[in-house]
Amino acid sequence: MKIRQPLDLSSCSVFEDRAFTVLFALILFLGSLFIFSGSAFAASTSVMTHAIPLTGYCNDPNPHCYATRTWLGHTGGSSTLINPYGSLNCQSCNGFIDVETWFEDTTDSQCTSTKYGECWVEGGISTWPANDPNSCHQGYDSTCGFWADNRPYGGNYNEHPLYNFGADGVNLVPYLFYITIKNDSGNSSSGSTWDVIVNIYKNGTLVAAPNGQSKSNTMNVNNITIGSELSDSNGSAGTIYFQDNQWMDTSGNFHYQTTTGNNYSTNPPPYGYWVTNPCNCQGNTGGSFDTYDS
C-alpha cells in the first residue's frame, strides 16, 4: 500500500501560491498596457505629439515656407507673446526656421514698389547657421533673437541682433518672448518711426529687454501677422505658441484679437493651427496659435 507523503508546507505555502498569483496578474496587466497602448504612460504624460512627415516643400530655400495667421486692418500697434514649449532646430542648415511677428504695409504704392512688394517691421526668435557670420554665437549653429525691417524709398532690408539664446536646438521652454511693435510718435497706423519693444523672461525672471527702432519707415500699417518661417528642409521645431495676441486702437489702448485672422500659409511644413481660438467672449486673451515642424 502506497502511503501518500505529506505536503512540504515550508517550500510551498498557501501564502506563497497567492503571492505568485498576484504577481502574475500584475505582470499580465502591465504587459497588456504595453501591448494595447503601446506605452504604459502614453495617455497620461504625452499629451501632444506631432508625427506628420515632412513634405519636402522647402527643399529649395526659395521660396520660404510659412505657417501664419494674419489680421487685416489699419492699426498703430501690435503685441504678442511667443511662448515656446520646445526648441528650434536647424543643424547643418544653410537657411533657418523661426517664430516671429510681422507688422506690415502691403498696400501703399511706396511699399508695393519695394523689392519685396511690401514694407514691414518684424521680430522674433530664429536659428542661425554656423556659416552665417551674423550668428549671435559666431561659428556655431545658434538660436538668436532678432528684429528687422523693410523700408520704402531705398531703405530696403535691414536686420538687427537682439539676444543670444544659445546653441541651435537650445531648450526654449524656460523662456517667454514678449514683443510689441508700435508707432513711436502717436497711435495712428501711419508713421515713420516704429518702436520694437521686447521683454525676455527666463524661468519667470526678466533677463533682457532689448529694444529697437525702425526709422524712416513711412508705413501705413494694414496687417499683423504671427507665425513660423522656414527656409531649409532640415529645419524642425517643437510646439511654440503665440498668445496674448493684441492690436492697438487710435487711443493707444491694446485689445486682444477676437477673430482667428486669415490663413495665408504656404503648404506645410511648418505647421500651424489654433489651439484656442480668439473670440469675442468672456475670458478671451487673443487665442493660442501653435506652430511646429516635426
Partner: protein, 178 residues
C-alpha cells in the same frame, strides 16, 4: 518551485526596468509644464536704457582711450574677406568687393543707410562698411505671404552694408541694397 520563483522574479525585474525606461522616455518627450505666462505689460519705450550689445564680430585689440576705435580698417577688411557678407554666400562666379570702410558717428552711419537705426547715441563712434557682390539672400528673414503680396521673394542683392560698434567690434546692423 525554485525555478518558478526565479522565472517570476526575472520577469518582474524586467517589467520594472521596462516601466522605468518608458516612464523616463515619456517624461523627456512629454509636453513640458510651464506656469501661466503673465499678461503683457505695455511700458513706455526707452531706447537709451536698452541698447543691444550686438553680435560678436571683429576682435578689438587697440588700446582704448574712450574716443578712438578698438580696431583698424585692415581688421575689418580681413574679417570681411574671411567671413563674407551677412545676407548669404556670394552669387556663383562673384567676388567680394569692399567699397567703403569708415569710422563715423552713429548719426552719419544712419544717414548712409537712408535713416536706418544704428541703436547707439547719435555721436557714438561706429564703423560703417559697404560691399558689392552680388550676394545670395540665404539668411534674410523675408516678408510674409498675404492677400496683396510677397509671393516674389528676391534671391540676390548687389550691395550689402553693415555697422560695427567701434569700441567692441560687435555687429549692430546689416542690410542689403539693389
Amino acid at each position: 518551485m525554485l525555478r518558478f520563483k526565479i522565472v517570476c522574479g526575472a520577469v518582474l525585474i524586467l517589467a520594472f526596468v521596462m516601466l522605468g525606461g518608458e516612464f523616463f522616455m515619456n517624461v523627456a518627450g512629454a509636453t513640458p509644464v510651464k506656469p501661466p505666462a503673465p499678461p503683457p505689460v505695455h511700458s513706455p519705450f526707452q531706447m537709451s536704457q536698452t541698447y543691444v550689445a550686438g553680435n560678436p564680430a571683429i576682435k578689438p585689440h587697440l588700446a582704448q582711450n574712450g574716443i578712438g576705435p578698438a580696431f583698424t580698417k585692415a581688421d575689418v577688411a580681413a574679417y570681411l574677406e574671411k567671413y563674407g557678407f551677412y545676407s548669404g554666400p556670394l552669387a556663383p562666379g562673384a567676388h567680394l568687393k569692399i567699397l567703403t570702410i569708415e569710422f563715423v558717428t552713429a548719426a552719419q552711419a544712419s544717414q548712409l543707410m537712408v535713416g536706418e537705426s544704428v541703436g547707439r547715441p547719435d555721436n557714438y563712434l561706429v564703423c560703417y562698411i559697404k560691399v558689392e557682390g552680388p550676394f545670395l539672400l540665404t539668411y534674410v528673414h523675408g516678408g510674409v505671404p498675404g492677400p496683396h503680396g510677397n509671393t516674389n521673394i528676391p534671391t540676390t542683392a548687389k550691395y550689402g552694408h553693415a555697422v560695427f560698434d567701434a569700441h567692441t567690434g560687435n555687429l549692430l546692423v546689416w542690410g542689403v541694397d539693389w
